[in-house]
């Protein structure tokens, strides 16, 4: 992501004090713990012009759910509201802020794109990553039938209900295999970790890659 952004002329900073957006705690019902982590996030990124996030899920947590967790806390709500418009999911930043569709990448092979749930349904990101992929030289995008179906990760869901989560991934992977793609691309690493884990367990010759990795390829 850094390479792509720098290629486009942006100065990238990586605040070393950054940790997590707090979503794992929020999604597990621990709102108080999520609030503590969220406050830390807001502190760390306080001065940035743009916060570019390589994850639809984390982006949505910050832009959509900080609102929920700081309900009743006017000061923090204001701080969350000030942050939200500066937080950008990576692909959306490229297209809407940097106005770059072709970032000069080259990747030889057939890929298929996995719509991660929070990017798709909370951030309404659907065509953007595909437009970026379409400009990558040497790349063929084969759509899978179940592109919009959940990979089954779901944070702690994946360890609370391993069989269901694993089954969901296998259903998704069946759909991936049909595309003959050697690479599955997404904008959320957690989905990719889930899918790669099940792919490896099944011994399939498929690799998962974040969109940023594809766009950084030369």
């Amino acid at each position: 992501m850094t390479e792509v952004l720098e290629r486009l002329g942006y100065q990238v900073d990586f605040p070393a004090a950054q940790t997590c957006c707090g979503q794992p705690a929020f999604n597990s019902g621990y709102t108080g713990d999520a609030r503590r982590v969220a406050r830390h996030f807001l502190d760390v990124f306080n001065t940035a012009d743009y916060v570019v996030v390589p994850s639809g899920s984390c982006t949505s947590m910050i832009t959509h759910h900080y609102e929920d967790i700081f309900q009743g806390d006017a000061k923090m709500l204001e701080s969350a509201h000030r942050m939200a418009p500066r937080v950008w999911e990576f692909s959306r930043f490229l297209l809407e802020v940097a106005k770059a569709e072709d970032v000069g990448a080259r990747f030889d092979g057939i890929v298929t794109y996995h719509d991660s749930c929070h990017a798709l349904r909370e951030l309404r990101i659907k065509q953007g990553p595909r437009r970026l992929l379409a400009k990558v030289q040497g790349l063929t995008l084969n759509e899978m039938e179940a592109a919009e179906e959940c990979c089954g990760f779901g944070g702690t869901f994946s360890i609370k209900f391993p069989e269901v989560s694993g089954g969901m991934a296998r259903t998704k992977i069946d759909s991936i295999v049909k595309t003959k793609a050697g690479t599955v691309v997404s904008i959320d690493s957690s989905c990719l970790m889930q899918l790669q884990g099940v792919i490896d367990r099944s011994g399939l010759p498929i690799r998962t890659m974040h969109l940023a990795e594809i766009l950084a390829s030369k």
């Binding site: 990586f14 070393a16 004090a17 950054q18 940790t19 997590c20 707090g22 794992p24 705690a25 929020f26 999604n27 597990s28 019902g29 621990y30 709102t31 108080g32 713990d33 999520a34 503590r36 982590v37 406050r39 830390h40 929920d68 749930c117 929070h118 349904r121 909370e122 919009e148 179906e149 959940c150 089954g152 990760f153 779901g154 944070g155 702690t156 869901f157 994946s158 360890i159 609370k160 209900f161 391993p162 069989e163 269901v164 989560s165 694993g166 089954g167 969901m168 991934a169 259903t171 970790m193 889930q194 790669q196 884990g197 099940v198 490896d200 367990r201």
Partner: protein, 459 residues
């Protein structure tokens, strides 16, 4: 009954669930697309707003409904729970010397175990919806809100018919339907009472609206001398004209039909000069915990549900675990949000967590219930309840450590270093074992991003 693990691992059952739900998904998609139905999204918003308004003025519309039903010669009975419903029906049956009840499909009566309760009093209640009839013979509860026998193949049905009715094995669906029909026709003619549910209760006209595809609800409500409709109080809509919104959404969302085959508008007993209809009409309005849901201004939207089943069909978790693994008759995402509210969050604390929060449910909900948001709220309530009960200490500690670590970056970095060093020799226990039961662990990067960044910046 197959457990979650068994259901996921049973290829036959998985195929039955997947093919049936996929059919419903495809049919719906064909009926709500912008080209065929451009007003769909606007109607969803409108439906949400109408339901919101109705639920917030429930007392007003209930009174209006009652007055109009009575004006048509019917009676309205408010029941707090299952017992009051049974008492009313048993009393009436005794007074009228009734023995046989025919029923059309009704989730509300499933909710209160209507049939079993009457059985104890030698009152026979026969389900007349084909799917429900099959399930009654098999002693199973509905697998799905709209397609109750969705999990059964025609071969399963053949076995059930042979076992319960003594007929020879018949695997052709049309022939199976004939078998059921020959039994049920007699029941319709003999029945003393017909019981139906209701899809909508129209306050301004006092009408009970029932949608169906088989015609059995129309028969149940008109053939016997007495018709009893059982409905939850949330089925109200203010005006007959609102049906234009809801009927358009219900059929399309449920089965992809612009309108179901039968839509019955039932208002009171047969009047003079009318050919059809019962002599007596009763509308049982059931609370059974619904008023509890009114208390929370956010969660009360759960009562907007029109029971179309679209959230079940589109839920990847429902499609894996099936309907019977949900603790109550309402399964899928809607079941996961209403069950804890009806029964208390402590009864099945796992339920709100049985979701990847993918949001497919909310996207297809015709009345725009924010299901993932409510699941999150319920999760927080489960955690609070556990804390009150002194349970779940280990998980609470884990998240406390998580938030402490994530607000102390130095500790976080140090622990991350230690963690990656120890990872290869860490025994696979706890959450790690759960993870590796299904998947491999990701290989660790040779260097952390923090380190890479620091080295890069110092150059």
């Amino acid at each position: 009954m197959a457990t979650i693990k068994e259901t996921v691992a049973d290829p036959r059952l998985q195929l039955a669930i997947y093919s049936a739900t996929q059919r419903l998904i495809d049919h719906r998609a064909g009926a709500v697309g912008f080209k065929v139905f451009p007003e769909y999204q606007d109607l969803r918003t409108l439906a949400h707003d109408i339901k919101k308004h109705t639920i917030e003025h429930l007392d007003y519309y209930l009174e209006q409904l009652e007055a109009n039903v009575v004006a048509h010669g019917g009676q309205v009975i408010f029941c707090e729970d299952a017992e009051q419903v049974t008492d009313f029906v048993l009393n009436l049956a005794k007074q009228r010397n009734a023995r046989l009840i025919v029923k059309s499909k009704s989730m509300t009566t499933e909710e209160i175990h209507f049939n079993e309760r009457l059985e104890h009093h030698q009152l026979e209640a026969v389900e007349t919806d084909l799917g429900e009839y099959i399930l009654q013979l098999a002693h199973q509860r509905p697998y799905h809100i709209v397609a109750p026998a969705l999990h059964l193949t025609r071969y399963d049905v053949a076995d059930i018919f042979t076992k319960s009715l003594g007929v020879k094995k018949e695997v052709v669906i049309e022939e199976q339907t004939k078998i059921a029909r020959s039994v049920l026709r007699d029941k319709f003619l003999q029945a003393d009472i017909g019981v139906t549910g209701a899809n909508f209760l129209v306050a301004d006209s006092g009408a009970v609206v029932v949608v169906e595809n088989e015609g059995n609800a129309r028969l149940s409500s008109s053939a016997p001398k007495i018709h009893i409709a059982v409905a939850g109080i949330e089925k109200l809509i203010p005006r007959a004209q609102d049906l234009a919104v809801f009927l358009n959404l219900l059929g399309r969302s449920a089965t992809g039909q612009p309108l179901t085959v039968y839509t019955s508008f039932l208002s009171g007993p047969r009047r003079e000069g009318e050919v059809d209809g019962p002599d007596e009409f009763y509308l049982i309005l059931l609370d059974n915990g619904r008023t509890k849901l009114l208390a929370d201004p956010d969660k009360r939207q759960s009562l907007y549900c029109i029971r179309c089943g679209a959230c079940l069909n589109h839920c990847p978790v429902y499609r894996k675990i099936g309907g019977h693994n949900y603790p109550w008759v309402y399964s899928g995402p809607i079941g996961a949000i209403i069950t804890p509210q009806f029964h208390g969050v402590s009864k099945d604390p796992w339920l709100p967590f049985a979701s990847s929060l993918c949001g497919a449910c909310a996207e297809v909900c015709p009345v725009k219930i924010e299901i993932p948001k409510l699941l999150l709220k319920l999760r927080a309530e489960v955690v609070e309840a556990k804390q009150r009960e002194g349970a779940g200490g280990l998980e609470r500690l884990a998240f406390r450590m998580f938030s402490w670590m994530m607000t102390h970056p130095r500790v976080y970095l140090m622990l991350a270093c230690i963690g990656s060093a120890l990872a290869p020799i860490t025994p696979k226990i706890g959450p790690l074992r759960k993870w590796t039961s299904q998947r491999s662990l990701p290989p660790l990067a040779s260097t952390s991003f923090h380190k890479w960044w620091a080295e890069r910046s110092s150059k």
